[in-house]
């Protein structure tokens, strides 16, 4: 029984014991980035860990803040990112990237990309809460950002992007409705994280789709070969496919993974705040768990996981709880009546391959 998602609930559901924490002896590290110009306060993290972090060894302050941290109001997103990245990836050195303090004529996400191109030493895992509708961005910009994400992948960085909180999305193109994919979630060179809820919100039970979970098919990027089999299987077997005019069935499909995104407790500006929801919550949770797996890999002399998708799709969901119930939101019209894609066995464009079962996932990702 529980009254909202806390680190205890996350660690219980994903089978993390009190021993599943960073060793504190490696160069392992993780980072979270949000571009809302929100501030993050160390005092919130310390308070959060005092309230919710007693059952596992953890760090109560971040290792590094990149970007200015003013004395402004802390933002829920900035607080939540750090608190849950450091609860799932406990006792692992954590950086916070904050775009506050940039000049008025700069673009925060672009500045983050420049940082990636200018720092030799960076954390292995990055969780990023940022996305724009694909159709609002120029193709030149999208292709160039995609190249920047490829550069990060060749360096062994794991970039996890939130899949977005508008379900399949919806917009009207020359009078008819279509789903609206989000970028960089739709980039073939990142790992995208969707969202789930507990079937019973007060019990740690199996998970179902959180209706906000972003997902769908890119209108810009063709499907990468690593996901061809899984996505074709979904398209040929799902009993709930929306009309084909709503989406580009040959596009890069996302998300790749998921985690709980509903009903989190967050401490921000000294206040514990309940029932916070969004894929900006599920993304740091999954990021922390991948950092723990990196910890074990580094301790056994292996390189960090890097760009995960080719391996993830080869392993066909091993080590993950498959989410097979529920659909996410989409266009409110007669034709689809607010329903986008629905989850099903194996990969699906709502929860990807599913949510982490840490000991099983560690077993599948520790070697080679």
């Amino acid at each position: 029984l529980h009254l909202g998602v806390t680190p205890f609930v996350i660690r219980k559901r994903y089978n993390l014991t009190a021993q599943d924490v960073g060793s504190g002896t490696t160069n392992n590290s993780q980072a979270c980035a949000q571009f809302l110009e929100q501030y993050f306060h160390d005092s919130d993290l310390a308070k959060f860990m005092r309230i919710f972090g007693q059952s596992f060894p953890h760090q109560a302050s971040v290792a590094r803040v990149v970007g200015k941290q003013g004395r402004g109001h802390a933002g829920i997103e900035a607080s939540l990112d750090v608190e849950y990245l450091m609860s799932a990836g406990a006792n692992i050195s954590t950086w916070v990237y904050s775009s506050s303090g940039r000049h008025e004529s700069q673009e925060p996400f672009l500045q983050w990309l420049l940082l990636l191109s200018n720092q030799s030493v960076l954390p292995h895992v990055h969780t990023i809460s940022y996305g724009d509708d694909e159709d609002s961005l120029s193709s030149t910009y999208i292709q160039r950002v995609n190249t920047e994400l490829m550069k990060a992948a060749t360096r062994g960085l794991t970039l996890l992007f939130a899949s977005g909180d508008s379900g399949a999305g919806c917009w009207s193109v020359s009078g008819s409705h279509q789903f609206r994919p989000s970028f960089p979630a739709s980039s073939p060179y990142v790992t995208t994280v969707g969202g789930t809820s507990f079937q019973n919100p007060f019990r740690i039970t199996n998970e179902v789709v959180d209706y906000i979970s972003g997902g769908g098919f890119s209108n810009v990027f063709p499907r990468p070969s690593y996901q061809e089999k899984a996505v074709t299987q979904f398209l040929s077997s799902s009993p709930h496919l929306p009309p084909s005019s709503y989406f580009n069935a040959s596009g890069r499909a996302y998300p790749d993974l998921a985690a709980l995104s509903d009903g989190y407790w967050v401490v921000s500006n000294g206040m514990p705040i309940p029932w916070v929801s969004g894929t900006s919550a599920s993304t740091p949770v999954f990021g922390g768990i991948l950092s723990l797996i990196n910890e074990h890999r580094i301790l056994s002399g292996r390189p960090p996981l890097g760009f995960l998708n080719p391996r993830l799709y080869q392993q066909r969901g091993a080590g993950l709880f498959d989410v097979t119930r529920g659909c996410h939101a989409s266009c409110l019209n007669e034709e689809v009546q607010g329903e986008g894609f629905c989850s099903g066995p194996g990969w699906d464009p709502v929860t990807g391959w599913g949510t982490p079962n840490f000991p099983a996932l560690l077993k599948t990702l520790i070697n080679p």
């Binding site: 029984l1 949000q34 809302l36 110009e37 929100q38 402004g72 933002g75 829920i76 997103e77 939540l80 775009s99 008025e104 004529s105 700069q106 673009e107 996400f109 672009l110 420049l114 191109s117 200018n118 030799s120 809460s129 724009d132 609002s136 961005l137 120029s138 193709s139 030149t140 910009y141 292709q143 160039r144 190249t147 490829m150 550069k151 992948a153 060749t154 360096r155 977005g164 909180d165 019973n200 919100p201 007060f202 509903d262 009903g263 309940p274 029932w275 916070v276 929801s277 969004g278 900006s280 919550a281 390189p303 890097g306 760009f307 995960l308 998708n309 080719p310 391996r311 080869q314 080679p368």
Partner: protein
């Protein structure tokens, strides 16, 4: 001249308000994305270092090796620097991979350099975020088409509202002991 981003949305996103034209003498910072090289090779490397079945799995590149691979040609670097200096750009900073250049210019210089651009100040969101953006498309001299992908800082607005929501407390489903 040509427009590098004809399909970039320029309508004002919800929640933003225009405060009018920027002062011509104001300083602003623009980011120039320079054309990279060897992107085919980069794509191959992404696949070989990320595929567990590849002999090169996990053998990642350093930032310096990535820079060596994608660095713009010296013609690109020279052409863009000459163009920017002639326009009065100063305090230009590059990155290790040399494929981005951030420079400071006055609004007046920027509007001359990027023909068609017109910088306005906008304010938006709960934290009253302020930005300088151009509601009009910019164009570059044709000679730069092989050297510049796009110019950052003209059209895209930062997010101002979190997509996180505080949902109402769920109603108990079934008898809760």
């Amino acid at each position: 001249s040509y427009s590098p981003e004809p399909d970039q949305q320029r309508t004002l996103p919800p929640g933003w308000v225009s405060l009018g034209r920027a002062d011509p003498e104001e300083e602003l910072s623009l980011t120039f994305a320079l054309r990279q090289q060897n992107l085919e090779r980069l794509l191959e490397l992404v696949q070989t270092v990320s595929d567990p079945g590849s002999p090169r799995y996990g053998k990642y590149l350093t930032l310096e090796e990535v820079a060596e691979l994608v660095r713009p040609s010296s013609l690109t670097l020279h052409t863009v620097q000459k163009w920017l200096l002639a326009a009065g750009a100063r305090s230009c900073h590059s990155v290790t991979t040399q494929d981005f250049l951030t420079c400071w210019l006055s609004v007046r210089q920027a509007e001359l350099l990027l023909s068609g651009a017109e910088f306005h100040r906008y304010v938006g969101g709960p934290s009253k975020t302020r930005v300088l953006r151009s509601p009009h498309p910019y164009r570059l001299p044709k000679a730069l088409a092989p050297h510049v992908d796009f110019v950052g800082g003209l059209h895209r607005f930062p997010p101002i509202s979190s997509s996180l929501k505080q949902r109402p407390k769920p109603q108990a489903v079934g008898p809760v002991g």
